[in-house]
């Protein structure tokens, strides 16, 4: 694979020096859906030393329209996204170091996987996780690159501790109702533009071209051919819980006990058992058999139908109940199955 980076080292701001820096870099990518697919592929092709991919989901048919690492076989096999992603990335470049985290990312997990990171990349689909990334980034003093997309619009911006206000300054209160890709759709070119801007900022940071980094938040709409860029320095909140003088990083504090959540726009309730409780795929199989339910076991999870809801139990005990938006019903079902 001689000269595989020649077109990138010919690009003068990167050159041989930047390429060597890339080789030693580690980026943590949180989310491996549309943005995460695109960003991780770009960085792996660019020659980055190591990527960590974290995602809690598996590939479904409706992902294929915009999630470039996955194919029909991945969707048919319900392969976890990080597993399918690693397979494709490995065929693209054998000598890249890839660490996968098949889990719901919370504070402790994010802090642990980011310890030796040079950069965090946001490829999540919700504001809660972005506040988590924001807190981890400021606590560990690592930049993170915001990117988001919905419909034909997208945004991108590099948040840099010590340089820029933080995401919490910009969005102190989370929107109660919010358009998501699952409610108003999304087109692939919008994903690609957001991801490309994130990848470009990542390449700048990781090759030492920090002065080239964007200083205005980009918002674009590729269908209506509009875009706006605006600086955010006036949004700095001196009392910010993340980037103020007395930070508490509230998003990082792990919740204890069983956690229930309605996954944004997914028609899915997620249940993460208390740390003390060891629930595995084998338990799911046992329960499904006891109740005479049909089930399907993959190397990563067991799928079964309980009370007409499709359930996915991962080996770390995380349970997804699809077709359900009501947390109380989810809680009831969980307890009826696993006590």
């Amino acid at each position: 694979m001689e000269n595989r980076y020649s077109r990138q080292t010919l690009f003068q701001p990167i050159g041989q020096f930047g390429q060597r820096q890339l080789t030693e870099a580690h980026a943590v990518i949180i989310g491996c859906g549309a943005l995460g697919s695109a960003i991780s592929e770009t960085l792996v092709r660019a020659g980055i030393g190591k990527v960590t991919l974290a995602d809690r989901d598996y590939v479904e048919a409706s992902n294929l329209q915009r999630q470039q690492l996955f194919n029909e076989a991945d969707a048919k096999g319900s392969v976890p996204k990080v597993v399918a992603a690693e397979r494709r990335l490995r065929s693209i470049r054998e000598n890249v170091e890839i660490r996968t985290v098949l889990d719901h990312v919370d504070g402790p997990i994010l802090e642990e996987i980011s310890q030796d990171a040079d950069l965090l990349l946001d490829a999540t689909d919700n504001f809660e996780t972005r506040l988590l990334i924001n807190d981890a980034a400021w606590k560990l003093n690592i930049p993170w690159i915001y990117g988001a997309v919905v419909g034909s619009s997208g945004s991108a911006f590099p948040f840099i501790p010590g340089e820029t206000p933080c995401f919490r300054c910009l969005l102190p209160v989370l929107p109660a109702v919010n358009e998501t890709c699952d409610t108003v759709g999304v087109i692939a070119p919008a994903v690609q533009i957001s991801a490309a801007h994130q990848s470009a900022e990542a390449l700048k940071w990781l090759t030492g071209n920090t002065s080239a980094m964007r200083t205005k938040l980009l918002h674009f709409d590729v269908w209506n051919n509009t875009s706006v860029e605006a600086g955010i320095s006036r949004m700095k909140n001196p009392d910010c819980e993340t980037c103020g003088s007395h930070p508490t990083y509230p998003a990082l504090h792990a919740q204890s006990g069983t956690q229930y959540a309605v996954l944004c726009g997914r028609d899915t309730v997620q249940i993460i058992p208390d740390a003390d409780r060891e629930l595995t795929v084998a338990d799911g199989v046992r329960v499904a058999r006891q109740l005479g339910m049909k089930y399907r076991e993959t190397p990563f999870f067991v799928e079964f139908h309980a009370e007409n809801y499709r359930c996915i139990l991962f080996d770390n005990g995380r349970l997804l109940i699809h077709g359900l938006k009501d947390m109380r019903t989810g809680r009831k079902l969980y307890h009826s199955l696993f006590g």
């Binding site: 946001d122 969005l171 209160v173």
Partner: protein, 77 residues
């Protein structure tokens, strides 16, 4: 006169990409109130206003000639 730009969802809601307003000077908060009244469902609580390519605070004053953009937050990915 100030110029205001609408993006994404707001473009569909208002049915236009931009318009001119003869209301300056006014604060960002007043502009958002005006938008919510004029276009029910605007959702002013979570929308940012950029004035001349800088995100502005609620209390900032918009002057005649300023160019404003309403920017909705984007969370998908």
């Amino acid at each position: 006169m100030i110029t205001v730009h609408y993006f994404a969802r707001l473009r569909e809601l208002t049915g236009k990409g931009e318009e001119s307003l003869d209301r300056a000077p006014l604060t960002v908060e007043e502009l958002l109130d005006w938008a919510e009244t004029t276009y029910p469902g605007f959702g002013k609580d979570t929308i940012h206003v950029a004035v001349n390519e800088e995100y502005a605070r609620k209390e900032d004053v918009i002057q005649a000639g300023d160019v404003c953009a309403f920017i909705p937050p984007v969370s998908g990915g």
